[in-house]
Amino acid sequence: MAALKTIKPMMISLVFLFALAFGLQARTSLVSLPDRQDAAIRLQDREGAALVQEKRRLTLKKGINHIDFSWQNVMIDPSSILLAPLSHPDKIILLSVSYPPAEAALVWEISSPEDLEEEVMISYLLSNIDGIVAYQALADTKETVLELRTYLVLRNFSGEPFNPVTAHTSLGPPFTTPIQNLETKKILVSRNPDIPIKKIYTWDALTMPHEPEKSETGVGIPVSYELTNQKASKLGNFALRPGKTRLFQQDNQGSTIFLGEDTTSFTPMGGKTRLHIGDSRDIVVTKHRLDAAKTNVRRNSDGQVQVYDETVKEEILMENLKDGPVTLSIVETLPGHWEKVDISSPYTLKDHQTLIFAIDLPAKAKKTLTLNYKVLNIFAANFSEFNGARD
């Protein structure tokens, strides 16, 4: 084990410090902290900090022992530092922890009933070392399955080298690797082939342009792959942590193309995640409002309009210019108190105002979705804030 550069005992100088601070007694001895024997790092599911656990062997004398733990040029959360005796937990008593002023250090006061060699576990939260997740996916030519490679990117900017360290993550079994200060390492932790994927085209009336023909640049419909984190889908060994996912596809030349990248959202086991690969400009969706008639107008005694209904007619034209069929998800938002008059395709309600239509569009086909609905009880004056979306 190489000597520690930054977390180390400061025995010599502190002998005098403790002599002053504690007024050395006959049965009190100072114990220096020896080199670490074994280090483990538990990477959090968040960026920026990790729990380090290291084993050290202390030589304790009968009576009170003071153990100094100090660090330089590393960021340790002092309140996170823990010491646990491993060899004789029933005999060793941790009496107190002292924090010297203006120093990155602490002193444990330990009582030992006899002279002992004690293995202890020291735990602390160390900043600027973490493990982020990156994924690489390769879809087949037909876009029915993909292989997902999960990488752990170990970033050590903590100021402390580890030669080596056993890393524990939520991504699978622990592994041992050296990692130097200022070093970044990318390690393949799992490779899951044949994960079924569903390709989804989504046109959301709230966010997409309604007249793409008038757009100066080509309008693309977002295209995503959906996959399920479950055993039946060749996944489901652990929750998918958020991370940049780069997606590729096999081509017909024995090579691959890059499809795009997205951030995988946190996906618990059993959950679904969608990865936006890019946009399709071969699906064209145009929406027009043809009519919005005001009906059932109610007035007050002064003749002022108080409440009315609106009967809306809209049409959504969908065109598939591709050589193959697609399923297009149309998301339509109808805020407020509305009721259906005639809607030409079946839909599911995501919530009271969000309608989702799954439209099968054969190759080179055009379809029209007509929406005829009434928005009821629109307040013309007071309470107009109740006309829109109500969560």
């Binding site: 960026e47 920026g48 900090a49 600027n128 070392i129 973490d130 982020i132 879809a139 030519t141 876009e143 990117v153 970033r155 690797t177 130097q180 200060n181 200022l182 070093e183 970044t184 390492k185 990318k186 390690i187 393949l188 008038k214 757009s215 100066e216 080509g218 940049k244 780069r246 596809q249 081509d251 017909n252 030349q253 090579s255 691959t256 193309i257 890059f258 499809l259 795009g260 990248e261 951030t263 936006h276 690969i277 890019g278 946009d279 400009r281 071969d282 064209v284 027009h288 409002r289 043809l290 009519d291 919005a292 005001k294 002064d302 003749g303 309009v305 210019l321 591709k322 050589d323 080179k364």
Partner: protein, 452 residues
């Protein structure tokens, strides 16, 4: 390091590959094997500054751990994209990890475990920025303006800092989703940023001065054997994208551009369309040249990538041309119509005039206060074609109220209510012909909009 300099010269490039035994890990880098590229493939995207480079090499591995160092300088490679795949004996050889060593920049070191000493082909892939391609079209419209000869080109430009000699060149038409600019990732001091710097954002600076230096370092262009004919470009649809593969191999040194013919169609039927739409173009007639991307029009095999198009008109048998205008097309899917805006024109006139204005159906409340009325306008639209060819004229009017109603339409078969507040008239006019359209627009104002 003299060895390194020598390698640099040998490759005449800036990518360097070392295979190192593990035992040398802590020693100075010693070169064990340097393999030349077997082949290189570049897949270039046009809507993102991104090129996927696939570098194929054959390497000798010793039994046990092998270290393979990949380093680069003055190029715009995204280190997080580095990937190595073993293409043969993958059960005997496995890539354990890639390390970005401390105190270095533009270096990645793979740890590769081999069950036995062997020789195996590998593919190293990475993203670089600085290589781009654009589509570019030239249309020569016939004298009668009814057809056009259309040529499409792709122009590849390499400002990546690296020469890609003898490379299989593939171009992707498509709109990919990108989270970070590759040029930004290439400029980071640490490939994945630092945990203490909020995802490394402050480091995401593009090294402009470096890029400028790279841009000015044009090198002599490799001399390719002159082809006897223009190279073919094979086209294939993949996912939502289109892949153009240039026949054979291309050498595009850093700093150079190359233009290749990608499409030739003749004759393509074109339509001369003149539009008036005050909301989009102001009070002017704008000339459009439209053509369908369809098979019956000698097109329609592939979508047309967006790009600049220059339109000329043939004015004589000896190649005399007249420049008509230029536009930038957007992506034209198969089956759709390209709509080229060639700018304002005076040779077709579309002039809408309000010839009568009335306030009708005045409404009052119980106290006698005015509460609303109908605003009625009689429109007269005068259309004239001063050109020498038949022309299609399109007049669009957008109203300020969805409650507008249109009546007394003079040419109802030319009329379309596009949506609740806009209308379109489309008609064809012979050369030197004129026509007048008439209609009445009635817009309820105030309380009148509540009354049936």
């Amino acid at each position: 390091m003299p060895v390194r300099k020598k390698i640099n010269r040998l490759l005449s490039g800036v990518l360097i590959l070392f295979l190192l035994p593990l035992a040398e890990a802590d020693a100075k880098i010693d070169l064990v094997t340097l393999s030349d590229r077997d082949a290189v493939e570049t897949t270039i995207y046009n809507e993102a500054d991104l090129t996927l480079v696939r570098d194929k090499r054959t390497l000798n591995f010793v039994k046990g751990m092998n270290r393979l160092q990949f380093s680069w300088a003055n190029t715009r490679i995204d280190p997080t994209s580095l990937s190595l795949d073993i293409k043969k004996d993958a059960d005997k050889i496995s890539v354990v990890e890639i390390t970005y060593p401390p105190g270095t920049k533009d270096v990645g070191v793979w740890q590769i475990k081999a069950a036995e000493a062997c020789r195996a082909p590998v593919e190293i892939t990475y993203f670089t920025s600085g290589i781009s391609w654009q589509a570019y079209y030239v249309a020569v419209v016939s004298e009668d303006r009814n057809t056009s000869d259309l040529k499409g080109y792709v122009r590849v430009t390499n400002h990546s800092g690296e020469d890609y000699g003898n490379a299989l060149t593939r171009l992707v038409v498509g709109k990919i989703n990108i989270l970070d600019e590759i040029a930004g990732l290439a400029g980071l001091d640490h490939p994945y940023g630092r945990p203490d710097l909020m995802g490394g954002e402050p480091e995401r600076k593009i090294l402009l001065s470096k890029a400028k230096q790279v841009l000015t370092e044009a090198r002599s262009m490799a001399m390719d054997a002159a082809p006897a004919r223009p190279k073919e470009i094979a086209k294939e649809g993949l996912s939502e994208y289109f892949l153009y593969t240039v026949e054979g191999r291309e050498s595009i040194p850093h700093g150079w551009s190359k233009r290749l013919l990608s499409l030739q169609a003749d004759p393509v039927r074109v339509q001369n369309l003149y539009r008036y739409d005050r909301d989009r173009f102001g009070d002017a007639v704008v000339r459009f040249l439209t053509f369908d991307n369809k098979k019956e029009n000698h097109l329609g095999e592939t979508p047309l990538p967006g790009g600049e198009i220059k339109v000329f008109r043939s004015t004589g048998p000896k190649g005399e041309l007249e420049y008509i205008g230029a536009d930038t097309t957007k992506y034209i899917p198969v089956g759709k119509t390209a709509d080229l805006n060639l700018g304002e024109t005076l040779s077709v006139k579309i002039k809408p005039l309000v010839m009568a204005y009335r306030k009708e159906n005045l409404a009052f409340d119980k106290k006698g206060n005015i509460t609303g009325f109908d605003e009625v306008k009689d429109y007269e639209v005068r259309l004239s074609n001063f050109t020498h060819t038949r022309a299609t004229l399109e007049y669009v009017e957008n109203f300020d109220s969805p409650d507008v109603s249109i009546s007394r339409i003079s040419l109802p078969d030319r009329f379309k209510k596009t949506d609740q507040d806009s209308i379109t008239f489309t008609l064809e006019l012979a050369p030197q012909a004129s026509e007048t359209l008439k209609f009445t627009a009635s817009t309820p104002r105030g309380d009148r909009k509540w009354q049936p």
